[in-house]
Each structure stands twice: as C-alpha cells, then as structure tokens.
Symmetry: C2
C-alpha cells in the first residue's frame, strides 16, 4: 500500500507501533499532526528528543527519572521504613495519583512468568531483598496486579522476605462504586472471604 509520500508512510508505520494505536488510528493521528504542525508536531518531536536524551532508570528503585536517583527516592519527605513493590512505572504513577502512600517504591520491571522465562534474576527481586536489609525496612507492601503472574510473584517475594520484615498486600474486594452485578466471581469471592464487621 502506497497512498502517501514516503516520509509520511514512515511516520504512520512508527506511530502504529504504539500501544493503543493501530494502522487506521495511526493514519488519523498523522493527518491531525500535519494539520497541527506548529502547535503539535514540532513540539512533540522536540519533546521526544528531550525524553530520549534524559530519561533513565532510578538506580535505587527502578522508577523513570531524569537524574541518577528519582525524586521520590531522594525526597526527605517520604517515609523510609516502608517500601511499596509495583510491577512497573505505570503502577507507581497510579499509586502516586491515589496519594495514599507516603513511603518509597520498588519497581520490579514485570512479574515472574514460567511461560516467558522470567525468573527472579530478570526482575529487581534480589535488589529488593538487599534494600530491605540495607535500608532497615520494616514493612514491604506488595501492590501487584491481581493476575495469576502478579499473585505468583507476590507469594515468591513474601517467601524471600519471610522473617526479614512485615509483608502485606493490597486488599482485594469490591471496587468503590462497583456494582455486584458487573463483578466477576473471583472478586466477589475475595470480597466475601475478607468481609469485615461494621
């Protein structure tokens, strides 16, 4: 298929590789970018170059940062005794938006997966065990996704840290605003098992 000039086809092909965009939405996005050249296309290209040049992993927790140690790890306002373990940076951002956790993070970079041959060494699990000892962590909060791989990883970490510190995980149950009729059986079962006295 060769509808557009080469430069434009190349941009469409690259845009179509982004998660959430297919060939059709990539074409629409590129035409939109061309129409908004001054206010969007140029600034976007510049912003991409800036991020490509500066983005890196925090050497302590694995967060995305532009310095050696991320803002959270280097903030004196964050509690030092608690570590929240997340799968990836998107989950860390979600926790920060909720604004409920005032400690520091540890980004695993994925979950254990026999199928994809991801073992503890591929994740930041040895580094987590080391941090618990070095930083005098009293509680590790596992904020992993409620998927099979996420829960497998949570159990593995809980065993690795057994006796070194408290290990807790996010509660499972009915989401706020959730209607029982729309929830899956697993969520209802988990909410039932974890029911509380009012």
């Amino acid at each position: 298929m060769h509808e557009a000039p080469r430069e434009i086809e190349e941009l469409i092909d690259l845009m179509a590789k982004l998660p959430g965009l297919g060939p059709r939405s990539a074409r629409r996005a590129v035409l939109y970018l061309i129409r908004k050249r001054g206010i969007l296309l140029h600034p976007l290209a510049d912003a991409m170059h800036a991020v490509a040049a500066t983005a890196r992993e925090c050497v302590v927790c694995g967060n995305v940062t532009t310095s050696e140690i991320c803002e959270i790890c280097s903030s004196e306002k964050r509690a030092t005794g608690e570590l929240c373990v997340v799968e990836d940076v998107a989950d860390l951002w979600a926790m920060e938006r909720a604004g409920v956790f005032k400690g520091r993070y540890h980004v695993l970079g994925g979950t254990l997966s026999a199928l994809d041959a991801v073992g503890p060494e591929e994740l930041r699990i040895p580094k987590l065990v080391q941090r618990v000892a070095d930083e005098g962590i009293s509680e590790v909060i596992l904020a992993l996704n409620a998927t099979i791989d996420g829960q497998t990883t949570a159990h593995y970490i809980a065993e690795e840290l057994d006796g070194r510190c408290d290990v807790t995980s996010l509660a499972q149950g009915v989401p706020i605003g959730g209607e029982l009729d729309y929830l899956d059986d697993g969520t209802i079962t988990a909410a039932m098992k974890a029911r509380k006295a009012l």
Copy 2:
C-alpha cells in the same frame, strides 16, 4: 498531578492531544516509548521532524504531499476526465486502498456546516468549479461521507456544477459482509430504494 519528571510529563501532555489517545493511553505510550528508546523513540522523533519539514498541500487537489503537486495529480497514468471529490485526505487514502478509482481527486478540506460557519469559500469548492472548466472534466464523483453535512455539501456541489459535467455519487446500501440485523434503519431504507434486478 506531578508523578513523572517535567520532560516526561510534557511528552505525555502532548501525546494526550492526539486523536484516539487519552491521558491514560498517553502515559502507557510514553512508558513504552522510553523502553523502546533506540528502536522507536528516536526514529519517531526524527520521522516527525522530517514530516514537519516536508509535508504540504498539493496546490492542485489539496492532497498531502512533499512536492508542489502530489503524486496522483502529476501521474500520467491517472485518467484526466474524472474527478473524485472527498472531504479529507483520510478519505482519499481509503479510496486509494480500495484501488477502484483511476482518475484524480479533489480534497474539499471539510464539509459545509452552518453550525461551524463553514461556507463554500472555506472549502475548496470554487477551486473545484474552476478545475472542472480548466481540465475539461466530464464526470465528478462525489465520495462524501453519508452524514447530514456530507450530503448537504454533495447537493450544493451538484447544483454548482449543474450543466457543466456529469455529477454522480457513491451508491448507498448494505456494506459487503453486512448483516441486516446490525444495520441502521437509514441504511436499510437506502438499500431498499436503490434495489436492483438480479
């Protein structure tokens, strides 16, 4: 909200302005870009700069091109007597993918809209009338969207060109593979009115 470093937040904000991406998918896309820095982020930024520097409107038909006159208008293989009128470049690309039309195009750049104060002068309609005379066009095929604004525009153009050349429009009916049960009443009515002897 300030979860990520400034450079990354800026990129997320710009990405979220693309059609089809919201704040959440923009965040996911940016994290993906950072992970695929070498093979995607750098090439994408370069491709955007290249398009920003070269993309322009064909002075004849309004297609997106990198030269003064687009490949279709300058091709000697395209029939010169037929003009296909489309609303925008995405529609031109859709026609080209179908591969059924071998003439040339005229991109209006939108539709007439009383609500948005878009009159014939805001579109490329005067230019279309001029092309029909100058290029000795025998048939103008209106390939406008089957929306109210699209059909209003089609009728306006048909009146403007009345007596100067044949004016036809794409047939309306049941799409190939379409199931009646899933079609709206308007489509079924149009297909019924335009029924053909087998």
